[in-house]
Amino acid sequence: MNDDYIRTLVEKGKRIDGRKFDEFRKISVETGVSKNASGSARCKIGDTEVVVGVKFDLGEPYSDSPDEGTIMVTAELIPLASPEFESGPPGVKSVELARIVDRGIRESKCIDFKKLCIRPGEKIWMAFIDIYPLNDDGNLVDASVLAALKALQEAKFPKLVDDKVDHESKTNVGLKLGKLPILTTVYKIKGNLLVDVNSKEEQVIDSRLSISVADGNIHALQKGGDFPLNIDDIKKAVDIAIKKENELVKFLK
């Protein structure tokens, strides 16, 4: 499909798949991707599909926060998911994806890191949150956040025997999550603001803004794309993200 065609269509107020600018594709979130994860989930938005697994493991606390555990978010853009992904060490795109997800979760404080402390200064729980897109049809980051939050809701700590983790056996203790940081990315094409672009639209965006919102408060922002956003765009984008929080959080109930 011609890139100009998509952009011209947007100028006329239309999208290639007939959606409204502020309309997501069909969303589904389910758990139980891998029994070997502490918790795992799959999120589909249209044909975009992401799986996320959480695994708890032991670690040592950072010296500046001896009584806090931590999270570690990784994204692997495996070439199975798109003709554009290549094997090899994480590129800038996967690092950015992981960092956006990380910051939303971290800054919203939906996980109480103090509760991940086992012995101050010595032993903590680390929650490894690993993101794998299985099919990239655009807007991976919004799908990744939904899947990550669902996996965290689902996660159960493994058994701890003599300070060693028994990964084969789970307890029935999970995390108590606070207000969930829902992420909506708003994309700008030809002066118009859209949500949930598909992979064809994603190739012709001018800029984007990912906005993490928990209970109406903004916890993380990330601007991307080659062109600037003006203040008015940002105001509108934030309004969209706040509205979408209520819509998307329902999938995590």
Partner: protein, 234 residues
């Protein structure tokens, strides 16, 4: 002590429950999912497409490139993301297992890329990956003379069994793992072994593999047909 009864109560020649599906990754040219017991593999095929770097190109025919890996949370201890020596080797033997049924003469200088990911692991992952890859290649419309089916057979303590699960692989009296792949004629395209068996045991195991692969072949073909039935009805 002998291994009298299997941990999950299967017969010695009984595989775990199998599920297969085609068309699971829309972005790919061909894709499939293959589940056997708690082991789940997905495969995506991209190509034939231009091969880079150029010095790898073959002007006579297209090449097959397989890439097997495991998702970090597919196993009990988190696997560090990215390829390692084990996955590199499995990628290689997977390529060799599939190549005999492919006809890539029409595609000089091109590559057919096969990406396999294990989503949930409970033994037999390379065989599940090969089963998924074979279906994904057929789904992609790559010219093939046959399908490839694969199953792991082996010995747990003193018993020859088919489709070892993780618990059996870790049996305290030792286990021998023999991954086998074959075409529908029973010609073997993958054979590996880790452990200790005598000749009789090996051939008994291969008999099991032949029977298992022919059952898998039926399931693979059905999944492919079901996909195209679905297409017609849509």
């Amino acid at each position: 002590m002998s291994y009298a009864k299997r941990f999950d109560k299967r017969r010695l020649d009984e595989m775990r429950k199998i599920d297969a599906k085609v068309g699971v990754i829309k972005r790919a040219d061909g894709s499939a999912m293959f589940q056997i017991g708690d082991t789940i593999a997905i495969a995506a095929v991209y190509g034939p497409r231009a091969l880079h770097p150029k010095f790898l190109q073959n002007p006579e025919k297209g090449i097959l490139r397989c890439n097997y890996d495991m998702i970090s949370f597919s196993v009990p201890d988190r696997k560090r993301p990215g390829p390692a020596r084990r996955s590199t080797e499995i990628s290689l033997v997977t390529e060799k297992a599939l190549l005999p049924v492919l006809d890539l003469k029409q595609f000089p200088n091109a590559v057919v890329d096969v990406f396999i990911q294990i989503v949930q692991a409970n033994a037999g992952t390379r065989c599940a990956g090969i089963c998924a890859a074979s279906m994904a290649l057929a789904h992609a419309g790559v010219p093939m003379s046959d399908l490839i089916s694969a199953i792991s057979v082996g010995k747990v303590s003193d018993k020859i069994v088919i489709d070892l699960n993780k618990e059996e692989e870790d049996h305290e009296e030792g286990a021998t793992d023999i991954p086998v792949a074959m075409n529908s004629e029973g010609e073997i395209t993958l054979l590996q072994l880790d452990g200790n068996v005598n000749k009789n045991e090996l051939f008994q195991a291969l008999e099991f593999a032949k029977k298992g692969c022919s059952e898998i072949d039926v399931i693979q073909r059905k999944a492919l047909k079901d996909f195209y039935k679905g297409v017609k009805n849509e």
